[in-house]
Point group: C2
Chain length 229, copies 2
DNA sequence: TCTAAATTGTACTATTTCGTTAATTTGTCA
DNA sequence: TGACAAATTAACGAAATAGTACAATTTAGA
């Protein structure tokens, strides 16, 4: 029993300040980890309460119930990703370079946001009911389609892109490889070894995805040769 | 109290035969649905017990515990998929046709086995620990790689495939699109509408995947033109 | 037919886990 | 300053859920 007042071990708990936004943000941060790790049904409110500065009651105070918290987590990570997509500028690159850049950026972004990937996987297990319920999400994600649409337009105008190139299809194709690369790493490695998940393997796959997309869109494109290992 | 002996409502329950395999199979069937729908932590043993012919006691009698049951479900669906892969024969097709057929078959197989897809998603959420723990799985899944390897060898020998075509990479590329198509349908549709999930949209995507793979492998391949909608 | 082994049903327990009740502390404004 | 609303805590309640004890029933084989 020392220093009960002068030097509290935890400032928030012994002599807390009112700071709702910080409390909410802290809960969200911990909850994101928990739900990403164990899913909605596997995630434990008590575990989140233990790891956050705030108490369990505060979770219910601010987020209503477990589902409300999960939905907030989902909206939060989607919003964050949108911002990073918005930050990507390719207007000044010529069409082939711009498309290449978009593929690279998408591939890398997925690798760098494993928590987001896991939450999307989990949300798909739930048939996207929480995503649909959200009001802020629908108009999200437009930005990447707009960028692809602009690049396609310019490429067609320059006579170097096929005229049937479709932005939405392209986004789907690019996303599918980029997403799967992260989402199914565990089972793929277990079944087939991790040769594609070494740094060299990842670099090769990344180049393959670029080649596939360009091969589909750019007239007369020939994939770059990759040295057989 | 009628007909206590002559006409039992349920033959198994009132006058059962010793038929462990049938009981196990029935439990597995119900458990597959339950775990695929709600995941490992979300799946309910009581729910499975309610839907199966057998009693809850039998689940523990045969499978030990919840995790043992989940693992059996996983091994069962993986084995089933392997069998369907083995059944696919492309040795008699020329290389381009054979590769096309493999892509088509993979794409369609994924569409037709949504329960398997969901269980793989769930297993990835669990970092594949149950798949790794399994003894029957590792040597599974070789068959598809062998088939792709054979096609690649023949294509290269005929001088029509690029020499850097790699079976494992190809399988990854083909699987990624095919898997994502099913696994992320819910969130993708929510974000971008379901134009890619109409019958026509699916046919277009399927053709795109074929074109991408052939474009990567076949020397001088030009994608087929798809009429803009 | 008799007996041991296999199989099943009932009822129960211990624990986990979501969510709440009621009281305490803090900030603010009259 | 003091009253009042907002923020926060600790302890508790109720339902759900995995797993079990044990007796009862059925089968298969000597």
């Amino acid at each position: 029993m020392v220093d009960t007042k002068k030097k509290p071990a935890n400032p928030r708990k012994s002599r807390w300040k009112q700071d709702p936004d910080a409390v909410k943000a802290d809960i969200l941060r911990v909850a994101t980890d928990e739900f990403a790790a164990h899913g909605l049904s596997g995630g434990r409110i008590d575990e989140i309460a233990k790891k956050t500065e705030a108490s369990k009651r505060m979770i219910y105070y601010y987020f209503g119930d477990k589902e409300g918290l999960y939905q907030s987590v989902l909206e939060n990570v989607y919003s964050t990703l949108r911002e990073s997509e918005d930050a990507l500028k390719v207007e000044n690159l010529e069409p082939v370079a711009a498309l290449t850049r978009l593929v690279e950026a998408t591939f890398d972004a997925h690798v760098n946001t494993p928590l987001f990937i896991r939450l999307v996987m989990i949300e798909n297990i739930h048939n996207a009911v929480y995503l649909r319920r959200s009001e802020i999400i629908p108009q999200l994600n437009r930005s990447i389609i707009d960028k692809l649409g602009d690049v396609c337009r310019r490429g067609k105008a320059a006579g170097i892109f096929r005229c049937d190139a479709d932005p939405l299809e392209l986004h789907w194709l690019i996303s599918s490889s980029s997403f799967y690369n992260v989402s199914n790493r565990a089972t793929f490695s277990t079944s087939f070894g991790d040769s594609l998940y070494t740094p060299e393997g990842q670099a090769r796959l990344r180049q393959r995805v670029i080649d596939m997309v360009l091969g589909l869109v750019v007239i007369g494109y020939e994939p770059r040769q990759i040295a057989a290992e």
